[in-house]
Symmetry: C2
């Protein structure tokens, strides 16, 4: 699976949280980072090239700071010019059909403010309806969004947890079951092994074996349970 | 009441429907038309001047074509830079509190497509949550939106009806009762009188008298009804 991460931020260099996440996924073959303001400082979007990029990927993500409950202006401009009738929708516009689409939102206020009675009054699900409608119109599967609330105030271990969930949003198959997460973790550990010193690599190797053993153990227990019920 | 009509359209000159509505309200003292792309072709928004303009008006309207379920990029940029903390929200940001806010949306597809099971899947109320949240955050009263679906396909009399509703959205007090609409109509007719030839002016005068007589008649009937019920 190949993921296209379309990042829109008017001031990416100055954003600590954006840098934290983006720097963690450089040089991954399965993720293409595409920062719109960086590629198009003059806003002159190359429509055929953008459409080709979309075609080459299976999962399309929009990552942006959630100002005034919507995307930065350049991302809206990108939608207006790239998602043409005949490409993204309409009788012959099937280029995106079946792909996955998701949002990665950096949000400055607390999660609990996003509900009736809270300061923001509406939930993230309600406020992102325009993107859900876009996914529907273009035939894409809408993923559960990845929302990061008040990243700057997080403790270090919370940040690490969030980072792992971010990697999953980018590269894990769309299924949050335990076996899927195990499989994904083993893949990540195997990739990490290739760049490590021998001692650390041995530790990783041991971790992988342990996860696989646990899985076999769980599978074995399931077989026993099945037999008990069907006796 | 003074209305600020903030129009955002990347190609206003070429839009027949926008021209139809805008040309009908030129030279009205109670409506300020503010076309963002026209005032800021270089996107260099004068924030203090925009904030001053907002302060001077009681009703703020956003008029734009509803592409990808949201506003054109420049209007989003305007929100991001003009609606600052300390002006539009936050402890000391009360400049917009109590003002009225509304949307005027030009929409290219049919109204019935905007519902579950329809081509667009969501209602206009659902898709405009970000603007409702903005009104809430800034303390503005959210008006029922004025939506114009497939204007180009309308018959001439439908267009005229729509135009009158548009004028009401711009200038009538926020109350759709019969007396309010009568009062509003009489005001419009009186204004029109000043620019007409004597014959047409007489016709208008007669119309105004007729509406006022009808109102007195209705009020009289109400008194009779009241007396009957309280006998």
């Amino acid at each position: 699976m190949k993921t296209l991460l379309i990042v829109s931020h008017p001031n990416l260099i100055d954003s600590g949280s954006q840098q934290y996440f983006l720097s963690s996924i450089k040089n991954r073959e399965d993720v293409t980072i595409h920062h719109l303001e960086g590629v198009y400082p003059d806003w002159n979007i190359d429509v055929p090239s953008e459409q080709e990029l979309l075609k080459q990927h299976d999962r399309i993500l929009f990552q942006f700071p959630f100002y005034w409950y919507s995307s930065p202006p350049l991302l809206k401009h990108w939608q207006d010019v790239v998602l043409e009738e005949g490409f993204a929708y309409g009788t012959r516009g099937k280029a995106l059909t079946g792909k996955q689409f998701g949002l990665v939102l950096m949000i400055g206020v607390q999660e609990r403010d996003y509900q009736a009675g809270g300061d923001e009054q509406f939930t993230i699900s309600e406020l992102t309806r325009p993107f859900q409608a876009m996914a529907h119109k273009t035939g894409m599967i809408y993923l559960r969004p990845f929302t990061i609330f008040q990243f700057a105030y997080m403790e270090e271990d919370q940040k690490m947890d969030t980072l792992i969930q971010y990697w999953q949003m980018l590269t894990m198959e769309n299924n949050n079951s335990l076996p899927t997460r195990e499989k994904w973790l083993i893949e990540q550990l195997k990739q990490a092994q290739t760049t490590l010193q021998s001692n650390d690599a041995n530790t990783l190797n041991y971790t992988i074996e342990l996860i696989e053993e646990n899985r076999e153990h769980i599978d074995g227990l399931k077989v026993v349970l099945d037999q008990m019920y069907h006796r």
